[in-house]
């Protein structure tokens, strides 16, 4: 039986009895997941590859809907509503729950236009408002200094680490309430990784963060809560410092001591 702690503060999201089945699969890839996601904190999801951590992450902004035939069951509550409802307005949902991917995904346009993209989608056309919010986002993503004199340059000219910060700036520009990070440093060098980790910690003042990582040290360094998943089950969710020192489940212990995965 899974061991899930209660969260004392406010929750950003609540997952209840959540099953996810990929198109054509006979068995669900996520089985009866129930967990709270604490507000203004960082929740890390760890586990061996194929455990379902990315699948769970991509359910929070309904990314799976891009590929027809996938099936959700159960509930994910956000702001009192079940976002798995087929009638959910996905465009609106995705502006409230942003996402950062495994690899930097700078769009083929200028640095400025990348950050302004989400704002323009929201309908903001006013030049000075755009300018202000782009600058603020770039500052919050700690990349303003490097980009302020070349905002009109192609974003693909930036280094990998810079591009990932740009993507973070792009995501926070629309002021989401939740940010999903899908192994955000897996394509980066150690120094860029350090920078991104620092940034993620700073961001939790404003947003609630869920981060999927294959790197246990990273989870230990940045997160407040850690969930350990295995074969589609959430085995344990606990305070990060407790989970890595005194895990309650045997499987968690085996995983963090390197017995498998």
């Amino acid at each position: 039986m899974a061991s899930i702690i209660d969260i004392k503060g406010e929750c950003a999201l609540h997952v209840r009895n959540f099953d996810f089945t990929y198109k054509g699969a006979t068995a669900p890839s996520l089985k009866k997941i129930s967990m709270p996601i604490a507000k203004n904190s960082i929740t890390a999801l760890i586990g061996p590859s194929g455990c379902g951590k990315t699948t769970l992450l991509r359910s929070f902004n309904r990314m799976h809907d891009l590929y027809p035939g996938n099936k959700y069951e159960g509930e994910i509550l956000f702001d009192g509503r079940n976002i798995l409802d087929p009638k959910e307005d996905l465009i609106h949902l995705r502006t409230r729950i942003g996402m950062i991917f495994q690899k930097p995904t700078a769009f083929p346009m200028s640095i400025y236009d990348n950050v302004a993209y989400g704002l323009r989608l929201k309908g903001i056309k006013n030049k000075s408002e755009l300018d202000g919010r782009v600058e603020k986002a770039l500052q919050d993503a700690a990349i303003w200094k490097e980009t302020q004199d070349r905002l009109k340059h192609d974003a693909n000219g930036l280094s990998g680490g810079q591009q990932q910060r740009l993507c973070i700036a792009r995501a926070i520009a629309v002021e989401p309430e939740v940010l999903l990070f899908d192994e955000p440093t897996s394509a980066l060098d150690p120094i860029s990784t350090q920078g991104i980790e620092k940034l993620v910690i700073e961001l939790k003042e404003k947003v609630s963060i869920i981060i999927v990582t294959h790197n246990m040290q990273q989870a230990a360094r940045v997160s407040d809560y850690t969930g350990f998943m295995y074969l589609g089950d959430l085995i344990e969710l606990g305070y990060t410092e407790e989970l890595f020192v005194t895990p309650k489940e045997k499987l968690t212990q085996e995983y963090i001591t390197g017995k498998f995965g």
Binding site: I91, H92, L121, K122, G123
Partner: protein
């Protein structure tokens, strides 16, 4: 309308437009295909395979001459184009690799692949028909062969490059000379891909009309004499379709149907071969 609603509206409009264009395109294409099948099937009968061409109005007229001529022309073109194409592709992939020369040859053959086929016909006319003094099956198959070489060359090159380098190294490590490595290991590894390339190449030249117009020309009678003009399905189709006689036009549709089925068959077969090897891995 809020900006977001406006975006959703434009999105719907754009999706409707592109679905509509897909429907328009497919409607035209299926119209053509439908005409081909209806006309072709209704014109099809055993006489077509038994009798050769006859003047308009004759009961006993068929396409035997053109069918056999087509097979001879495409067969000879394949006999020339396939070995040359495979050897040249082998050079690019196994010897030339990424050298400047090899890349130039790749570029030139890419351009050749899309060059107007009627120009190839004019070229072969000048180098074969003029010196011989008359049209011939030789000239027709040389023209088709020239069109075929770049197609086979590029697929062979691509397919051989897909064979993992470690496989070659393993064979070299056993002390095999390079030609044996290529013949026994590399070709075997790329067998299905090369075969598919050959099938698609044959299908491509089988549908060519323009380069035959003034090389193999045409003939309304059965012949296997390679040094004389030779009928082909495509040119016969062209001549019959542009004639004012209804029975000839009918035969033209029959020829179009037979040829199209042959070409589609080769294409489908090629895809199946490629698909089955992908599944095998």
């Amino acid at each position: 309308m809020s900006p977001v609603q406006k975006r959703i509206f434009i999105n719907k409009l754009a999706l409707i437009f592109s679905t509509l264009s897909a429907i328009i395109a497919l409607a035209f294409l299926f119209w053509i295909l439908g005409v081909l099948v209806m006309k072709g099937l209704s014109a099809l009968n055993w006489n077509i395979f038994i009798y050769e061409g006859a003047p308009p109005g004759y009961e006993e007229s068929g396409l035997k001459h053109a069918l056999v001529g087509q097979l001879i022309l495409v067969g000879m073109a394949t006999g020339v184009g396939v070995p040359l194409g495979i050897l040249a592709g082998t050079y690019l992939s196994e010897y030339g690799k990424n050298s400047k020369l090899a890349n130039t040859i790749r570029d030139i053959s890419d351009i050749m692949m899309s060059a107007p086929s009627i120009v190839i016909g004019a070229f072969v006319y000048a180098i074969v028909v003029l010196p011989m003094g008359h049209f011939s099956a030789w000239a027709g198959s040389i023209a088709l062969g020239i069109i075929m070489i770049p197609i086979i060359l590029r697929t062979t090159d691509d397919m051989l490059q897909l064979v993992p380098g470690t496989l070659r190294e393993a064979a070299f490590a056993l002390g095999a000379p390079k030609y044996k490595v290529i013949l026994n290991v590399v070709y075997r590894g790329a067998k299905a891909g090369i075969l598919t390339g050959v099938l698609l190449g044959v299908a491509r030249v089988a549908g060519e009309t323009a380069p035959l117009l003034f090389t193999s020309f045409n003939d309304n009678f059965f012949t296997t004499d390679l040094s004389q003009a030779m009928p082909s399905l495509t040119v016969t189709m062209f001549n019959y379709a542009t004639s004012p006689y209804e029975d000839w036009q009918q035969l033209g549709w029959a020829a179009a149907f037979i040829l199209s089925m042959f070409i589609l068959g080769l294409n489908i077969l090629g895809r199946l071969i490629l698909l089955s090897t992908k599944k095998g891995k």
